[in-house]
């Protein structure tokens, strides 16, 4: 009788441990989804500060990454590849001629077509791109990165500021 009780108690304890293990297991990573990206060059007859390279839509290829990452956590368009920023045949146009203050330090470019990485990091604010409802837009932090010749980036103001990492 005592042995049965001990066995049952051990089983319950083991089941409890397994249950905890099951809870600890993270969901498997979701697949990246290839997407077609169109960057508007003008709107209301005015040029945009971020434009396409006038070569049409950006699609996912070996050299251009155009993806919804992790099944919906982030959107990214990258026109370079590899560790050394190897350029693809696509670029993004940036216009940095409208500073908020003219006392800003000199910008690395005025206007230029640059190899770029654009990303909307919705997962950082727990937004799943796949679950955004029509008519209920989400706010996501975003940034762009380009090399000219050092590496620069534009970071959307977002509260709280969450990336990129700052040395200050």
């Amino acid at each position: 009788m005592k042995s049965r009780f001990v066995t049952a108690a051990a089983s319950i304890a083991l089941a409890g441990c397994l249950g905890r293990l099951a809870v600890v297991h993270a969901a498997p990573p979701r697949a990246d989804i290839p997407v077609t990206v169109t960057i508007a060059d003008t709107q209301n007859l005015y040029p945009m500060h971020v434009q396409s390279d006038v070569q049409g839509a950006y699609v996912n290829t070996k050299q251009v990454q155009s993806l919804i990452l992790n099944g919906g956590g982030e959107w990214a368009l990258t026109t370079y590849y590899g560790r050394n920023f190897t350029p693809s045949n696509r670029t993004v146009f940036f216009d940095l001629t409208e500073p908020v203050s003219f006392s800003n330090p000199p910008a690395p470019i005025g206007t230029a077509y640059v190899q770029s990485h654009l990303i909307a990091k919705c997962a950082l604010v727990k937004v799943d791109l796949m679950k955004i409802k029509t008519g209920a837009p989400a706010q996501c932090p975003g940034r762009s990165v380009f090399k000219r010749p050092a590496v620069f980036g534009t970071v959307s103001h977002f509260s709280p500021p969450i990336f990129p990492r700052s040395t200050t």
Partner: protein, 65 residues
């Protein structure tokens, strides 16, 4: 940035638009602008190594799967 879904199917959102948050306008340009900080980045660590000030950026990006 504002991320809006403009088309869905059975698996979820299918087409998104990405545009500036809010409706910040400057000059005579009627397009809304996003307030962005321009920074220099250490490519190895991704750390910000220089703050180059704030810039207005307009953009309108459509993403479709």
């Amino acid at each position: 940035m504002k991320v809006a879904c403009i088309e869905s199917d059975a698996t979820g959102c299918k087409t998104w638009t990405i545009s500036p948050s809010g409706s910040r306008l400057t000059g005579t340009d009627p397009n809304p602008k996003n307030l962005n900080k321009l920074v220099q980045i250490d490519p190895g660590s991704d750390a910000v190594i220089a703050d180059l000030g704030d810039y207005y950026l307009s953009f309108y990006i459509t993403v479709a799967r």
